[in-house]
C-alpha cells in the first residue's frame, strides 16, 4: 500500500467511509485527514463527486433509484420510477435476500445503527486497509445513492472515483487514460467438451478453475501496472475491464503485452491452444469518464479484441504448428499429446476407471472438494501447508481452504486471500483479503459419498432419481438479451463510468449472488406475484456456471424447469420490469447417462432458438415461446399481429398460456388411468397438429418455388396456416376433454380449463402442454431406461 496510485484510491475510500459514518452518526477517529491530492480532486471533478459533501450529508445520501429504469433501447420504458429497498448485506449472510425495487423510497434511518457500529469499531490502522474499507462500502453502500445522480450508488461512485484517481496518480493533468479489455476465448470448449463419469462435478470444477484464471489475469495486470483493485471495473466469466493510466510512450501497452504473452505461453502449454487470452487496451480522453463517450470507448475496446482472437497465438505460431507425435488420447478431453505413462485412472477409488490426463484428473479431484471451499489464497510460494488443494495458474499458486481462519493463519504477506461470498467484516480486518463472488449453489447428496464424512454434490443419477414423473435431469442455459447494446447505449446521455460500473455490478450480483439465494431459499426470494407450479423448495440443482450475465445449471428436470421460471420472474422484478432488459433461455431434458457435453449443446441450441424467436423467450420441450406465453398472459398481445387479426372473432379464453393450464390440470387430480389416456390423446392431437403445420409449410415452399402468383401464396399462408394452427385441432381437443371422467368434467373449477383448451388462442400450446403433463405424470415403471 505504498505506491502513489494505491494512496489515491485509499484516500477516496477513506473519505467515502468517513462520510457514510458521519451520516450514520458515528464519529470515527481517522488518523490523518489530509487535503485531497490533485489527482483525487481531478477524479472527483470528472465524476461529479458532490462538492460540499462534508457539510450537507443528509441531502447527499439518499435512497437509491433504480438504474435499470433509465435503460431505454427499442421498446421504451416510459417513465417508471423505482427505488431499491433500504438495506445492507448482513454478516454471515452467504445467501442475502434478493432486493426487489419498489415504487416508493424507504426511510434510510433503519440502516444507520449497523453502519455506525461497523465504522465506529474501525481501528486506526484499519483505515489504511483498502479492501476492508471497500467491503464496508459494498455492505452498506450498494443500495444507497450519493451525489447528484440518485441512481448511482455510493459504492459505485467511490469505486470509480478511486479508480480514476489511481489512474491519474502520477500525472494528475494527463489528457488520456487507458481502458484495458480482456477476453478468454475457448471457455465453452474447455468446459463442455468432456465426456466422463462424474462429468457434472468436473464441469463445475472447470468453470471454477476458469474463474480463477480470469482472476489471475487481473492480478497480474494489477501488479504489472501497480494499480489498486478499485481499477477493476468488471471481471468474471472470462471477461475483464480495467482502468489504467494514460499511455505515454506505450509503457502500459508493453506491460499488457508482456502479461498477455506470458499468459498465452502458459495457456498454450496447459490447454494445447484450446484457450486463448485476448488482451488489449484503448486510450481515451480523460474527460470521457464523465460523458457518454466512455461507453463508446468501452465498445471500441471490446471490438478491438476481435482482431487478436482471429490471430490466436500469433507469437507462438511456430511452436503450435510443430509436428507432434500422437499418443493414446485422454478418455475425458481427448488430448493426445501425452505419452501413455502420464495417463492415469481418473478415479483411483474405482478399479475400472478410465485413463485421463493430469488436467482432467485435477479437475475431477477438485470437483469433489469444491463444495467446502471458503477461502482461496493466491501465492507465489510453491508450498503452503494446511491447504486442501493447490492449483497452479499462470505461474502462481492458488491454495484452497475450507475455512478462512486456517487460510489467514497460513497465508503470508504477499498472498492475497479470496473469500467466497463472504461479507463478514472480521476476516477482512487483517491481511490482504478480498471478496470473490461466485454463483456456486449445489445440492449435497443425501448420503454423502462412500466414507460418509465428506459431503458431496449430487450426481446426475441421484438428481434423476429425485425427479417427479419421468426420471430425467435437465440442463438450463440462460443469458441476458442485448447486453452489449445495453452497455453501449442503454443509458443514453447517462452512459458515464459510474452508472456503467453500477449496471455491470448489479447484473453480475444477480447472477453471482442472488441466484444462489433464489436456489437455496426459494420462498423467501421469489418476487411477490411470482407464479409457481408447486411450492416445492426445488433444491436439487447444481450450478455449473453462474456469473456475468449468464448461467448453466443442471439438476432434477422438473426443478430445473421451475427454477427457470423463478429466475425469469425474479430477474424481471429485479430490473423493474423494464421491457428492454430480458432473458432468453434453453432447457434440454435427458437421461442421467446422457453425455453432459451433448446436453450442454442441446440446451445451447434451444437457447439459440429462443434468441431467434425475438428474444425474451424460452426453449423447452423442443418448443419456443415468449416467456409471456409460457407463464400465461392476461392480454392477447402475446400472439403476433397476424394471428391476432385471425383470432379477432374468437372469444378471449379465461386462461391463456401454458403454465396456468398445466397448473389447473395438475390441480384436477385426474385418476391415473384417465390421466394417462388423456395425456396420450393430447399428445396425439398435438403431434397431428405439428405434422399438418409442417406439411403446409412444405406446400407453401413448393408454391414459392414454382413461382405461383403471390396472392395465392398469401392466401395459403394466412388463411390456411393460421387456421390450421389455431382451429383445425379444436374438435379433437373437445373430444379428448369430453372423455375425461364425469367427476372431473363436472367440477366447477374445470369449466374454465375446458373452455380455455377449446379456445383457438391456446391452440399453439397443445404440444407443450401435452409434453409437460406427460413428463410430470410418467410413472416410474415406464421410465426405466
Amino acid at each position: 500500500m505504498t505506491s502513489l496510485s494505491h494512496a489515491q484510491a485509499l484516500s477516496v475510500a477513506q473519505e467515502a467511509v468517513l462520510l457514510l459514518g458521519r451520516w450514520a452518526g458515528a464519529s470515527p477517529s481517522i488518523p490523518t485527514a489530509t487535503a485531497d491530492s490533485k489527482a483525487v480532486t481531478q477524479a472527483k471533478d470528472l465524476l461529479k463527486w458532490p462538492q460540499d459533501s462534508r457539510s450537507n450529508l443528509e441531502q447527499q445520501v439518499k435512497p437509491l433509484r433504480l438504474l435499470f429504469d433509465d435503460v431505454n433501447l427499442s421498446n421504451g420504458q416510459g417513465s417508471k420510477n423505482h427505488y431499491w429497498p433500504v438495506g445492507y448485506i448482513k454478516d454471515h449472510d452467504s445467501y442475502p435476500p434478493i432486493p426487489y425495487p419498489q415504487p416508493n423510497a424507504d426511510d434510510l434511518d433503519p440502516i444507520k445503527p449497523p453502519i455506525q457500529q461497523a465504522i465506529a469499531s474501525l481501528q486506526p490502522d484499519e483505515w489504511n486497509n483498502l479492501s476492508l474499507l471497500m467491503l464496508i462500502l459494498e455492505k452498506f453502500g450498494s443500495y444507497v445513492s450519493f451525489g447528484e445522480q440518485d441512481n448511482v450508488s455510493l459504492l459505485d461512485l467511490t469505486r470509480t472515483t478511486a479508480a480514476v484517481a489511481a489512474a491519474l496518480a502520477n500525472q494528475p493533468d494527463a489528457k488520456c487514460l487507458t481502458l484495458i479489455a480482456g477476453d478468454l476465448s475457448g471457455i465453452q470448449k474447455f468446459i463442455y467438451t468432456i465426456s466422463s463419469d462424474g462429468a457434472l462435478k468436473s464441469l463445475r470444477a472447470r468453470s471454477f478453475y476458469l474463474e480463477l484464471v480470469t482472476q489471475e489475469v487481473v492480478e497480474q495486470l494489477l501488479s504489472a501496472l501497480d494499480l489498486p483493485r478499485t481499477n477493476v471495473i468488471y471481471a468474471g466469466g472470462g471477461n475483464l475491464y480495467l482502468l489504467a493510466p494514460g499511455d505515454e510512450g506505450t509503457i502500459v501497452q508493453n506491460k499488457i503485452a508482456q502479461v498477455r504473452d506470458r499468459f498465452n505461453e502458459w495457456l498454450r502449454k496447459t490447454f494445447q491452444g484450446k484457450i486463448f487470452l485476448a488482451l488489449d487496451c484503448l486510450p481515451f480522453a480523460t474527460e470521457d469518464v464523465g460523458t457518454p463517450e466512455f461507453a463508446k470507448a468501452w465498445e471500441k475496446a471490446t471490438k478491438k479484441l476481435a482482431g487478436q482472437k482471429s490471430r490466436k497465438f500469433q507469437s507462438q505460431i511456430s511452436e503450435l504448428v510443430k509436428p507432434k507425435p500422437a499418443y493414446e488420447p485422454c478418455r475425458v478431453c481427448y488430448r493426445d499429446d501425452l505419452p501413455l505413462p502420464s495417463l492415469e485412472p481418473l478415479n483411483n477409488q474405482e478399479a475400472d476407471s478410465c485413463l485421463a490426463c493430469w488436467m482432467c484428473r485435477t479437475m475431477f479431484d477438485l470437483g469433489a472438494k469444491l463444495f467446502k471451499v471458503e477461502a482461496i489464497a493466491r501465492s507465489k510460494q510453491s508450498t503452503i501447508k494446511g491447504a486442501q488443494d493447490r492449483l497452479s495458474i499462470g505461474g502462481t499458486f492458488y491454495y484452497l481452504f475450507e475455512e478462512w481462519k486456517t487460510a489467514n493463519a497460513i497465508a503470508n504477506e504477499d498472498s492475497t486471500l479470496f473469500l467466497v461470498n463472504d461479507w463478514t467484516l472480521e476476516p477482512y480486518r487483517t491481511g490482504n483479503a478480498v471478496p470473490l463472488l461466485l454463483g456456486n449453489y449445489g445440492q449435497r447428496c443425501p448420503e454423502s459419498g462412500p466414507d460418509h464424512a465428506q459431503p458431496q454434490f449430487m450426481n446426475a443419477r441421484e438428481m434423476a432419481a429425485a425427479a417427479q414423473g419421468i426420471k430425467r435431469v435437465a440442463s438450463l442455459r440462460m443469458d441476458v438479451d442485448n447486453l452489449g447494446k445495453i452497455f453501449a447505449k442503454g443509458l443514453g446521455s447517462n452512459q458515464t463510468l459510474p452508472p456503467l460500473a453500477g449496471l455491470s455490478r448489479q447484473m453480475s450480483y444477480f447472477f453471482k449472488v442472488y441466484l444462489n439465494s433464489l436456489a437455496k431459499n426459494r420462498q423467501d426470494n421469489l418476487p411477490a406475484k411470482a407464479k409457481t407450479l408447486s411450492d416445492d423448495s426445488r433444491q436439487n440443482l447444481l450450478f455449473i456456471y453462474a456469473g456475468g450475465d449468464d448461467l448453466f445449471v443442471s439438476g432434477t428436470w422438473n426443478e430445473v424447469v421451475e427454477f427457470a421460471f423463478d429466475i425469469y420472474q425474479s430477474f424481471r422484478a429485479y430490473t423493474g420490469y423494464n421491457t428492454d432488459i430480458t432473458l432468453s433461455g434453453g432447457i434440454s431434458i435427458d437421461g442421467a447417462k446422457f453425455p453432459l457435453y451433448q446436453a450442454a449443446e442441446a440446451s445451447g441450441d434451444s437457447e439459440k432458438a429462443a434468441k431467434n424467436n425475438g428474444r425474451d423467450s424460452l426453449g423447452l420441450f423442443e418448443q419456443v415461446f415468449k416467456w409471456d406465453e409460457w407463464l400465461g398472459s392476461t392480454s392477447p398481445s402475446v400472439a403476433d399481429s397476424d394471428a391476432r387479426e385471425c383470432l379477432k372473432s374468437a372469444e378471449y379464453p379465461p386462461i391463456l398460456g401454458i403454465f396456468p393450464l398445466i397448473e389447473q390440470l395438475e390441480k384436477q387430480q385426474i385418476e391415473t388411468n384417465y390421466a394417462r389416456s388423456f395425456v396420450r390423446s393430447l399428445l396425439a392431437t398435438a403431434q397431428m397438429q405439428d405434422q399438418m403445420i409442417k406439411e403446409m409449410e412444405n406446400k407453401r415452399k413448393t408454391l414459392i418455388h414454382e413461382k405461383e402468383p403471390k396472392q395465392y401464396i398469401d392466401y395459403y399462408e394466412k388463411e390456411i396456416k393460421h387456421d390450421i394452427r389455431y382451429y383445425l385441432h379444436l374438435p379433437r381437443m373437445a373430444y379428448t376433454l369430453a372423455r375425461l371422467p364425469q367427476r372431473v368434467r363436472e367440477h366447477p373449477e374445470f369449466a374454465p380449463v375446458r373452455k380455455s383448451l377449446n379456445n383457438p388462442y391456446n391452440a399453439p400450446y397443445f404440444r407443450a402442454i401435452a409434453t409437460w403433463l406427460e413428463l410430470l405424470n410418467r410413472s416410474q415403471s415406464q421410465s426405466n431406461d
Partner: protein
C-alpha cells in the same frame, strides 16, 4: 336460420370448390352442428357406412396420391347418405350438408377439406356425448 341451413348457405356461396371453405368457419360450424346432431339423436352407427366409405377413400388416396382414383367413389358417397337419411330422420341434416359439400369436391385438396369437415363434426358430436 338453423345451423343446417347456415352451413348449406355458406357452402353454396363459396368462391370456388370446397377447398375455399375456410377452416376457421368449418370448425365454428362443426362446433354448432355436432351438438345439434346429438340433439337430433343421431348415433354414429346410423351413418356408419358413410363414415367407413370416407375412411376407405382416405387410405386409397394416401396410397395412390391421385384424386382421379377415387373421383367416382366420392360421387357414390351421396347415395349412401340418402339411404341413411331415408332410414333415420336423425341422419337427414348430416346428409343434406354432406351432399352439398360433396358436390363441391373436385380435387385432392377438396377431398381433404371434406374429411376435415366430417371429422370435426364427428369429434364435436362425440364430445357432446354422442356415440
Amino acid at each position: 336460420m338453423d345451423i343446417t341451413q347456415e352451413i348449406i348457405k355458406k357452402i353454396d356461396g363459396l368462391p370456388g370448390t370446397l377447398k375455399t371453405y375456410p377452416i376457421r368457419d368449418l370448425v365454428n360450424h362443426a362446433e354448432k352442428f355436432g351438438p345439434y346432431l346429438k340433439q337430433q339423436r343421431l348415433e354414429t352407427n346410423q351413418v356408419r357406412k358413410f363414415l367407413d366409405a370416407i375412411n376407405r377413400l382416405k387410405s386409397v388416396l394416401a396410397q395412390e396420391n391421385e384424386f382421379s382414383k377415387i373421383e367416382t367413389e366420392v360421387v357414390l358417397l351421396k347415395p349412401k347418405l340418402a339411404y341413411a337419411a331415408a332410414r333415420e330422420k336423425a341422419a337427414k341434416p348430416l346428409s343434406q350438408v354432406m351432399s352439398k359439400a360433396i358436390d363441391k369436391v373436385r380435387s385432392k385438396e377438396d377431398f381433404e377439406r371434406l374429411v376435415q369437415f366430417i371429422e370435426s363434426i364427428i369429434a364435436y358430436h362425440k364430445a357432446e356425448g354422442g356415440r
